[in-house]
Subunit: 346 residues, 2 copies
């Protein structure tokens, strides 16, 4: 599966007969078939067991009808492979029991052969490609250095990220050392994923939006640019999703194919500003899936209309699908996109 799929074509801003759709976190808790597997397996074991990871990766292709699969995993497998002890309790999110708090802590990180310790991911990619059998392309992903660093420093999710910010403000050199070693690990990891069979890759900078414009450039975008400049893509599109970042001109300078946008952004304005250089991915508010079907249809039409006619739009939510979303409404969203988008491609 590759260049002739509707998803890959849209990433490259080639003409398609309709707008493709996939959904961030489409393999996840809202699916009963996923929950059935999770009843027997904790989250991290699922990530690390290729047979199971590939099974849940394929579920939304079968059940929801999306145009791409995304390998089931977690962004924090990289710090885990560096020797930080990752625990994921779904009700309270990921935790590291011994977070990075100063320059000395960096010495604890085992940065040699990280990708080798993530062989289970590569094995899951190969199994998934077999199960997909060419039906849809497979996306691989990684967290961006800034987002990985926030978890490694905070040790858990945070409301204000004051510990992570205290770190970058108090010892910027140590912060850059951490971000650089993460950036190198991400380059290696994504290149290995592409070699293992991923047809596209997405870089998630979930917490880029908490930085001031100056800090955003220094601690987030600089490293995304570094990574994107070093990917051996072999034609695989690169998607950058820096949530909450409205500095579109800066995002457009990154060597990538697609910019992901959250639901607070206006697709028409974004396309006017950068749409000739990048494809755009997004951006329905995930909460719309809690609305009656009539509203889901109306808001789907609104997103499609805001992007407008022509190629280069990949439909998605503006953030991950929420755990208590109805499967039926999600299926309905996919059918709406498939039906309503045709007129924008004539």
């Amino acid at each position: 599966m590759g260049n002739d799929s509707i998803f890959i074509k849209a990433c490259k801003r080639h003409a398609t007969e309709r707008t493709p759709i996939w959904i961030m976190r489409q393999a996840g808790r809202y699916l009963p078939q996923y929950r059935a597997i999770r009843e027997k397996t904790d989250f991290l074991t699922l990530c690390k067991t290729p047979e199971l990871a590939s099974e849940v990766t394929v579920q939304p292709v079968d059940i929801i009808g999306v145009d791409a699969a995304i390998l089931f995993s977690d962004i924090l497998v990289i710090p885990d492979a560096m020797g930080m002890h990752l625990e994921i309790v779904e009700s309270k999110g990921p935790t590291f029991d011994d977070p990075i708090r100063d320059r000395d802590d960096l010495k604890r990180l085992n940065t040699d052969g990280v990708t080798g310790r993530l062989q289970y991911v590569m094995d899951a990619i190969k199994l998934t490609k077999e199960k997909l059998a060419g039906r849809v392309p497979l996306i691989g992903f990684s967290g961006a250095p800034w987002t990985l660093a926030t978890y490694m420093i905070e040790g858990k999710g945070s409301k204000n990220f004051d510990t992570a910010k205290r770190f970058i403000y108090s010892d910027p050199n140590a912060a850059h050392e951490l971000l650089q070693l993460l950036a190198d690990a991400v380059v290696d990891y994504l290149n290995a994923k592409i070699r293992a069979g991923c047809d596209a890759v997405q870089i998630f900078d979930t917490w880029a939006g908490i930085l001031s414009p100056h800090d955003l450039e220094e601690f987030s975008l600089r490293y995304i640019k570094y990574i994107c400049g070093r990917l051996e893509t072999n034609g695989a599109p690169v998607i950058v999703f820096a949530k909450g970042v409205n500095a579109l001109k800066r995002l457009a300078e990154i060597t990538c194919d697609v910019i992901g946008l959250d639901w607070t952004m206006d697709l028409a304005a974004a396309r006017a500003e950068i749409g000739e250089r990048k494809a755009l991915q997004g951006n329905l508010d995930p909460c719309v899936l809690f609305a009656p079907k009539e509203k889901i249809r109306q808001e789907t039409e609104r997103v499609l209309a805001r992007y407008g006619s022509g190629c280069g739009h990949i439909f998605n939510l503006g953030h991950g699908i929420l755990p208590n979303t109805s499967v039926e409404n999600t299926q309905y969203l996919v059918s709406c996109v498939k039906e309503l988008s045709v007129k924008y491609h004539q």
Copy 2:
């Protein structure tokens, strides 16, 4: 105290000798003098006791040296005065035990004479004015209808606000009924505050930033515009702070004097876009106050430089000061603004 203060002048984009500063949540937990009072009094009793509320309001003027006081209160006193039972436990935020979940629940709200039941606020304003004795002006504030509604519907703080969004998507007419009755209450409340002696008022729409552009217009900005069009200001400047909203052109259409900006916005870009129509307030990242002094000074200079020369800037943080902030660093910030801003006003 009024038109000749540096804060009021800056709000009106009149020339001043330096940039004024005040700090959102400047009367609060980071001050030992505030914590001493809170040891004997719960949060809501403090809001409802004019003698104590006026005392903590004046504290940061004496201790930190800010150029304006803001009356100590909470945005949720309005739903409380409508008969919803507000509880504030500082570790978990505000809660309503019986939230609004459908149209019928609106009947429970006692919307007559709301401002009358907030007489304690007006009494606190009068006492505060006596204590300030003309040293600095006094700001009064209100939550915006959308932000008030999110708490009234969710019943507590929320990560994704899916309950509030489900409400507005499922029964938009009921949502508008709720927002309209809140808007009318806010008009009444802010007008009474101005009559009681407030020299300026600020409208906080803390959760405006979670809405898509279309929903932002329909459920948030429409009601802020309604309120601002009906204030009897008697010359008191009106500040609108819609956190996380980057639709500056839409904000600029509101009949108000000052637009507050969070720390993710670029002051130079904002000034270029709307700075001839509005004064701008902000926007240092509150986490910078956890940094070493050298960094605080450098970032203060950066914010001042991004706004640039001339009148119309009120220095503030981009969000409320965090509870574990150092008093010494906060005092240092104020001294930096007073010193470093002079050159931008020559």
